[in-house]
Amino acid sequence: MSRPTQRFRTAAGGRIARARTISFQFDGRRYTGHPGDTLASALLANGVHFVGRSFKYHRPRGIMTAGSEEPNALVTILQGRDRQTPNVRATDIELCEGLAAISQNRWPSLAFDAGALSGVLAPLFPAGFYYKTFMGPRFIGSNWLWPKLFEPLIRRAAGLGRAPASRDPDHYVNRYAHCDVLVVGAGPAGLAAALVAAEAGATVIVSDERTEFGGNLLSAFDAGHDGDLSAGVNAHRWREQSLAALAANARVTLLPHTTVFGAYLQNFYGLAERLASHHGSPPPGLPRERLWQVRAQEVVLATGAIERPLVFSGNDRPGVMLAGAVRSYLNRYGVMAGSRAVVVTDCDTSYAAACDLKRSGVDVPLIADLRSDVGGAAIDAAKQAGITVEAGVNVLGTTGRHRITSVLMELGPAGARERRAVPCDLVLMSGGWTPSVHLYSQARGKPSWSEGAQAFLPSDPVPHVHSAGGCAGTTDLEQALRSGAEAGAAAARALGLTVSAEIMTVADPDPVLGSRAGAPVMAPPSADAFIDFQNDVTTRDIQLATQEGFRSIEHIKRYTTTGMATDQGKTSNHNTIALAAGMLGRDVAVVGHTSYRAPFTPVTFGTLATTARGSLFEPLRRTPIDAWARAERATFEDVGQWQRARTFPLRSENQQQSIQRECLTVRCAAGVFDASTLGKIEVVGPDAATFLDRMYLSPLAKLAVGRCRYALQLNEAGFVIDDGIVARLAPDRFHVTTTTGGAQRVLTLMEDYLQTEFTDLTCWLTSITEHWGVIAVQGPRARDILEPLIAGLDISAATFPHMSVGTGEIAGVPMRLFRVSFTGELGFEINVPSNYARDIWELVEQSAERHGGTVYGTDAMHLLRAEKGYILVGHDTDGTVTPEDLGFGTGAKKVDFVGKRALARPDMLKSDRLHLVGLLAEDPQHVLEEGAQLTQAASPANGARADGHVTSAYMSPALGRSIALGLVAGGRARHGERLFVPMPSGPIAVRISTPLFLDAKGARLHG
């Protein structure tokens, strides 16, 4: 295939580096461009306009703009196999070596697209057509054909690009930043603001979404040093000087390639910085994008204005472009977007573009101004350049298949109107400018309609936010600079700084801008006069919406989908509002605008997710003993952020066998268990006992030093939320444990009561969860295992009975020892400082092995405690369970405690509440399923009420049969009763029993 040359590149000028040539691909064809090009400018340089298909009708579309407002030129970028990015604006992407892009939303190819059929059927598909059909036929039922037939068809036709098939190999990073002044947009207004604020001593961040700073100045004709300097410094030189001054200031951070995408509360802004997309082959390790989260004292919004398209029949053909964009391609990129250009306009700014084109040798046969009354400097300049200007023109349509070939218009004086088709390959259109008030509005400002500016402008002040330049409604360079400087000064003054800098006078390279557009001239409703280009919303759609009673602008938006495409209506919203106002016979001010929302332009998910990926997604907490368990090939389970050893299978064992062996060994000899994840709080102070007594159901005020007590914690509504052991180490010092998942919650709750309710009490809470590694030793041999290792504490049955606590040393390490049991066996929990826990564990484990013991994991722990009917909060309870439901008497404690009063509510006293019971399947080999329902009937009717459900179920090795715990309505009074677990495979009969399956007298416990 021959390689097309850059036929439309100007001979000289522009900000591209002509010395280097870059090769790239579009839809498989090779082209060339230069550094400094965007994909769009390079395509245009090669004469390629037709780059995409529209969303709904699959109409051929070209490049319309030169910036982030582009609605049409969306492509998919491919960088190798793994880096595929859909829906990228060709106007935004910087050309780099090896760039490959493909067009979207077409099949089989861009030129021959089967989807274009929908364009032929367009009369059938006006706005909201899908609400009116695809429901029947009635006899099949309305819910059959839609999901099965029509919806899949519509889905296939919709969508734009394709999501990548593989995982993103790139990474993303985050950065919090703080500054005195954040300047958004580095056009003349933003640069002026930054200069003044920085000069005054503020720390400044300047961000612009484009590669180069300068905004509109970059698109202006550079007359060079020989331009007219009488009015001041050449604007391009001013830009360079200003940038140099900012770059040299250490207080200033310049962020090009960085879009400020969102304004949040109290001057908090979200910025997306593209770090790698402009590198052909990014340096290894370079993050693709970086999220900046900036908190600024003051903000200057200098985001400029966006040019409006005109609304006429056929305004969407490739080759119809915004006038300012054509000018930008010419002056900034050295590209003539066509060879014969017609200008269609209703404002003055497009005249400058016409003059620039003419000067570069492009044929400009006509400026067709829709206004009947034109005149002034801009017009004179064009005429002087030899361009024909016609006023009062009415554009009737355009021709051309994949590129515009002519504009049809009606022109001439009243009475002598003539129709003319003007051949061309480029149309410059301009309907005026819409100030970019997006961020101002996101910052909760309310833009209001200005009749003079014919635009919504920032009006009511937002604290610490200053709008300047085009986004505040200025129209020429002088105003932009002045308002920028003023905004910078205001920001500096608000910071208490003294402002000295003065902005020099700069010659406006666009002396012709000046006057603004009038009220937009709107074409009559037509099926191919496009308002929203990407979503194919036409004037007829807006008309249909108003005809159907959608009068609110928000309804019109949602019914027609105007403004809902990837460009969020940057080029269409104004025209929608103006058109709707006309149709509804209301003022634009009354119609209002739809709400502006973040992001300003779409932001990559990865950028927002930043580093939270894989191991950095969320902390994974491991105990001090974890490495040992991993080396032993334990299996693990997640509990909150923790990972806990679940089983320790021997080589030949499966999970189940491992659990059974671990349990039996504990009951016959002993087991060693890592309980380090248990939450622990040290409560210290003269009122510690009183405080704990108020926080727990169990009476704790009189707990003796050296003793522990099991304690249930309730919320104020009376439901069980946590449990643990409260141990008294000294009159004023307690060691309290919580569940693993509840550690933070319990501490917060206790702090809350201590700081805000029980302010009469003096004590303090300190989290000691991670200070202590906890090794539980449980089983008849537990004492034998520990005794040889321990010093300074007598743990004999007589001196250290069940529920004792004491301190001493283990292998020379200070320890807190608890005699507690969660298995029903003689048990101890050794607490040692965490950094010693691993080695102590090994000593204990070795000692246990000598006594026939084993290590065990959480699965065995769950089973062992169930044999004793001990509850697991969160497993057997779910936040709706009271202590009474669990069989804990609550009447004994007379003094108030958290949750006490709520237990006396009528519903808490009902006898049919769900009670904790034991459940024994009649088939002792059958293990019930946790969560299974319990019913009275073996085969309950659909919709039957359950009598309760199974909360825990195991095969008990000690009992040689299955056991279960459950919550059953009125269950405590129903021991012995038969219930059924209705399973898909058939009902399972069970008997209600006491939840205490083993050693009812507690002989083992007290051994």
Partner: protein, 203 residues
Amino acid sequence: MAKTSADAHLDFAVDTTVALRAPWEGCVFADVPHIATLSDGGHFSRVVLRGYDLAAQGLGGVLGVQPPIEINRAITAGTRTVMKLGPDEWLILAEAEAEIQLDRLPAANLAAVDVSHRQAALSLAGTAVEAVVSAGCPLPLDIASFPVNRATRTLFAKTEIVLWRTAANAFHLEVARSFVPYLIAHLNRAIEAEAAIANGRGR
């Protein structure tokens, strides 16, 4: 004098078979010239002191360093540092597991809890430390807002940390034991990214 209930002293005369295992065991630390170096901060004895007007209670003598009056401040004397992290909360760090004689503290209206092993120290130094910490910490870290010897509890990504600026280009971070690998991985990533961006810019 009423004797406090606190463990008489933190005494580390332990059996030689029992080794002290740091939570950063097995972790790799990033070290990038001209950006930052991450390393473990060494072992400390740590005590949380709770109570009101501690400074006024004349604890300086017992602790070997006068507790700061101003919140979110650290004061160092010799091998000891005291940070005031809350209106009634001080964290004492004593280098290399030196003994802190808790039993010499007055017991009334004061609570002392040993948390030596609850958390670990990391240290971060280099010219780009502010940028590196800003990858995860939402506080302003420029030297004016966060001067040397400012110390405060805050966040780094999804972990709570105590951040203490020890020099213009150095931070000491305290983090709960089980969060150590996560924090190290995160800081490593931030250092490497900062380096890659600096290189990318240079091009």
